[in-house]
C-alpha cells in the first residue's frame, strides 16, 4: 500500500495541477494579507477561498484523476493486491497531496500573518474540507461509469453543498420563522460539511455579533468543548462515510 501511495503522490505531483493549485493558494493568500491593512478583511477573503475554491478544486480534480487512472487501477487490480488497499491507497494519495498543498499554500501565510485562533480554525477547516471532498469525489467516481456524467455530477454536488443547500436553509428559516427553530437549525447545519466549517470559523470571527439571543444558542452548542468535538466528529463522519461506501462499491465493482 505504501508503494501505491508513493506512486500516486509522485504521479499527482508530476501532473502539475496540484503544484499550480498550491502556487495559486500561496499567491492569493499572500496578496490578501499584504494588500489589506486590516487582518479581519484578509481573513474574510481567505474564508471565501476555503469555503468555495478548496471544495471545488478537491472534488473536480479527484474525480478527473480517478477516471484518468482507470487503466492504472485495472492494472493494479490484476496484481495480487487487495482491492481495499488499492482504493485506500488512492484515497490517501489524493487526500495527502491536497492536505500538503493546502498546508503550504494557505498554512504558511496564515502562520506568518495571522497566527490566531481564527487563523488556525480556517486552516483546520480547510484541511478537513479538502479531505471530505476527495472522499465525496471518489464515491461519485465509483458510482458512475461515464466520465462526463461523473464530472457533471460532482460539479452539481459542489453547487449543492456551497450554494443550493444554504438557499434551502434560508427558505426554511423564513417559512418557520414563527417557531423556535434555533436548535433544529444546528441539526440541519450538520447535513453540510461546508456549513459546519463555516459556523466553526464564524464563532471565532464574529463572536460579538453572535452573542445575541439566537447567536447564544449556536454559541452554547458550537462554542463549548462538547459542541466542538461533536462538530469535528461529524466532519470526520463526512470523511469516513463516503469513503466506506465507495470502498464497498469498489470492492464489488466489475471493472
Amino acid at each position: 500500500m505504501k508503494k501505491i501511495i508513493k506512486y500516486i503522490i509522485t504521479d499527482i505531483l508530476r501532473n502539475k495541477i496540484i503544484l499550480s493549485y498550491t502556487a495559486f493558494l500561496l499567491a492569493i493568500s499572500f496578496t490578501i494579507f499584504s494588500l489589506e491593512d486590516n487582518s479581519t478583511k484578509g481573513l474574510l477573503s481567505l474564508l471565501n477561498i476555503v469555503l468555495i475554491i478548496v471544495p471545488l478544486i478537491s472534488i473536480i480534480f479527484s474525480t478527473i484523476y480517478i477516471y484518468n487512472s482507470a487503466e492504472f487501477i485495472e492494472l493494479l487490480v490484476s496484481q495480487p493486491l487487495q482491492r481495499k488497499k488499492i482504493w485506500l491507497g488512492l484515497f490517501t494519495g489524493l487526500a495527502g497531496s491536497f492536505t500538503i498543498a493546502f498546508l503550504i499554500g494557505a498554512g504558511i501565510p496564515i502562520i506568518l500573518f495571522e497566527a490566531t485562533a481564527v487563523g488556525f480554525m480556517i486552516l483546520a477547516v480547510g484541511i478537513l474540507l479538502s479531505i471530505i471532498f476527495v472522499a465525496i469525489a471518489m464515491l461519485a467516481a465509483v458510482k458512475i461509469r461515464d466520465k462526463a456524467k461523473g464530472i457533471g455530477v460532482t460539479i452539481l454536488l459542489w453547487l449543492y453543498f456551497s450554494l443550493l443547500f444554504d438557499g434551502i436553509v434560508l427558505f426554511l428559516l423564513f417559512q418557520f420563522s414563527d417557531y423556535p427553530i434555533e436548535k433544529p437549525m444546528i441539526g440541519v447545519s450538520m447535513l453540510n460539511p461546508i456549513d459546519i466549517g463555516r459556523i466553526l470559523i464564524l464563532l471565532k470571527m464574529d463572536v460579538s455579533a453572535l452573542m445575541g439571543y439566537t447567536g447564544a444558542v449556536f454559541k452554547d452548542f458550537f462554542g463549548t468543548t462538547a459542541g466542538m468535538i461533536t462538530s469535528f466528529l461529524v466532519l470526520a463522519m463526512w470523511m469516513i462515510c463516503p469513503l466506506l461506501i465507495s470502498l464497498r462499491k469498489f470492492d464489488r465493482k466489475d471493472l
Partner: protein, 401 residues
C-alpha cells in the same frame, strides 16, 4: 488631643487613644473639627454625622456594618470622609441602605475610600456640589434584587464623580435627575446591569471613563445636552446589551469614544439633534443600530473597522446625515484623489436587514449564498433603505488610532 483657641480641633480615635469609638469622637467634635481615626476594626453600627467635620482615616481603618446597618449617614454640609474601608452594609428591599449616604447636603467630599460588599455604595440624594473621588467599590452579589448601585445620585446638581473604580454592583454609576455634573476617569466593570445608568439628567458630561463587561452596557435615556467624550465601551455581550443605549436623547455630543467588541456598540432610539464625531467602532457585532425614529443626527469622521455589520435599522425613513466617515468595507474608488470616495457607501447590508427580521438567519452568515445576496442588493437596492448612505466616504482614516 490638642487644640488652639480659635482654630479647628483634631480629635484622635483609636485603640491606643483616649477616645476609642468614632461615635464618641463625633459627639465631642465641634463644627469644622477633624476626627482622625487610626487603623483598626470598628463595629459601631450606623455612624451619623450632623456637623460639618472632616472624618479622616489613617492606615485605612475598617468600618463594619455587620450586614445590618447603613454605615455612614451624612446630614450636614461640607463633610469630608476620607480614607476608610467600609464593609458589609445591610441589605433591604424597602430602604436604599448604602455604605455612605449623603442626605440633602452640599459641598461634601467622599474620597479615597474602599467599599466592599455594600448594598448601595455611595448614595447622594439632593446633593449639591459634592465631590466623590478615588474610591474603590466592589460588590460580589449575584442577583440584581440583592444588589444596589455603586455610586447612586438622585436629584442632585453639580456633582463631580472622578477616578472611582466600581465593580460587581447592579448599576456602576446611577444618575437620575442629576444636572450640570461631570463623570470623569472612572472605571466601571462587571456590573450586573449597566455600567452607567443615566436618566432625566441634563447638561452632564462624562469623559474618559471605561465601561467594560457590564451585563447590559451603558444606558443613557430621556436627557438632553449630554456630552460624552473619549470613553471606552468594551465587551458588553448579549442580546439586550449595548455599548450605549441611547433613548430619547437630544442636543448631545458623542465625540472620540471607542467601542470595542460589543454585540451592539450603539443602539439609538428617538435621538435627535445629536452630533457624533471621531468615534471608533472596532470588532462589534453591530456598530450602530439606528432606529427610524432618530432625526437630525450627524455622523462624521467616525471610523468603522472590522464590525460584522456597520449599521442596522428598522425602517426606510432616514433623517440623519452619515457623510464623511471611514468604513473599512468601502469598495469604491477615488479618481480625483481628494481623499473622498466617488461612489456612495451604503452601510446597511442586505443581510443585516434579514438578520434584523429573522435572527436565526445569522447561522448562514458568510456563506456563498449570503455574499451573493449582498452583492445583488448593492447593485439594485430593494430591501435596504436607499437614502441611508455615506455620499462622501473617506478613503483614509481621518486620524491616527
Amino acid at each position: 488631643m490638642y487644640s488652639l483657641p480659635g482654630m479647628c480641633g483634631i480629635i484622635h480615635v483609636g485603640k491606643s487613644e483616649k477616645i476609642k469609638t468614632i461615635k464618641e469622637a463625633i459627639s465631642h467634635a465641634n463644627e469644622r473639627d477633624t476626627v482622625l481615626v487610626h487603623g483598626g476594626y470598628y463595629k459601631e453600627g450606623n455612624i451619623f454625622i450632623s456637623k460639618k467635620i472632616v472624618l479622616k482615616g489613617i492606615d485605612l481603618p475598617t468600618l463594619d456594618g455587620e450586614n445590618k446597618y447603613q454605615i455612614i449617614s451624612v446630614k450636614a454640609n461640607g463633610v469630608v470622609i476620607d480614607g476608610f474601608k467600609i464593609v458589609h452594609s445591610g441589605t433591604s428591599s424597602l430602604e436604599d441602605i448604602a455604605g455612605i449616604k449623603l442626605y440633602d447636603v452640599r459641598d461634601a467630599v467622599v474620597q479615597n475610600n474602599v467599599l466592599d460588599d455594600t448594598f448601595f455604595g455611595i448614595y447622594t440624594q439632593r446633593g449639591i456640589n459634592c465631590l466623590i473621588q478615588n474610591n474603590v467599590l466592589t460588590s460580589a452579589r449575584k442577583q440584581e434584587q440583592a444588589s444596589g448601585n455603586g455610586i447612586h445620585c438622585w436629584k442632585s446638581d453639580s456633582m463631580r464623580i472622578i477616578n472611582n473604580t466600581i465593580k460587581g454592583h447592579r448599576d456602576g454609576i446611577y444618575f437620575e435627575f442629576v444636572t450640570n455634573s461631570v463623570i470623569w476617569r472612572n472605571v466601571s466593570t462587571s456590573n450586573l446591569r449597566y455600567g452607567l445608568h443615566f436618566m432625566f439628567s441634563n447638561s452632564d458630561s462624562y469623559i474618559s471613563n471605561i465601561f467594560r463587561y457590564n451585563g447590559a452596557g451603558v444606558s443613557v435615556m430621556f436627557s438632553h445636552h449630554v456630552k460624552m467624550f473619549n470613553n471606552y465601551f468594551e465587551e458588553n455581550w448579549g442580546d439586550g446589551a449595548y455599548g450605549i443605549l441611547l433613548k430619547e436623547i437630544a442636543d448631545s455630543y458623542i465625540d472620540g469614544n471607542h467601542f470595542i467588541k460589543n454585540t451592539s456598540a450603539i443602539y439609538m432610539e428617538g435621538v435627535s439633534r445629536t452630533i457624533m464625531v471621531k468615534n471608533v467602532f472596532r470588532n462589534n457585532g453591530w456598530a450602530l443600530k439606528i432606529q427610524a425614529s432618530c432625526m437630525e443626527t450627524e455622523l462624521h469622521n467616525n471610523v468603522f473597522l472590522g464590525n460584522t455589520f456597520d449599521v442596522g435599522t428598522n425602517g426606510s425613513l432616514v433623517l440623519n446625515n452619515f457623510d464623511g466617515n471611514y468604513w473599512d468595507k468601502y469598495e469604491g474608488y477615488d479618481l480625483n484623489k481628494n481623499g473622498i470616495g466617488d461612489l456612495p457607501y451604503r452601510p446597511v447590508s442586505m443581510y443585516s436587514m434579514i438578520v434584523e427580521r429573522n435572527p436565526p438567519a445569522m447561522i448562514l452568515f458568510h456563506s456563498f449564498m449570503t455574499s451573493l445576496l449582498d452583492k445583488t442588493e448593492k447593485v439594485l437596492p430593494t430591501l435596504t433603505p436607499e437614502n441611508l448612505a455615506d455620499t462622501k466616504p473617506l478613503m483614509k482614516l481621518p486620524f491616527h488610532l
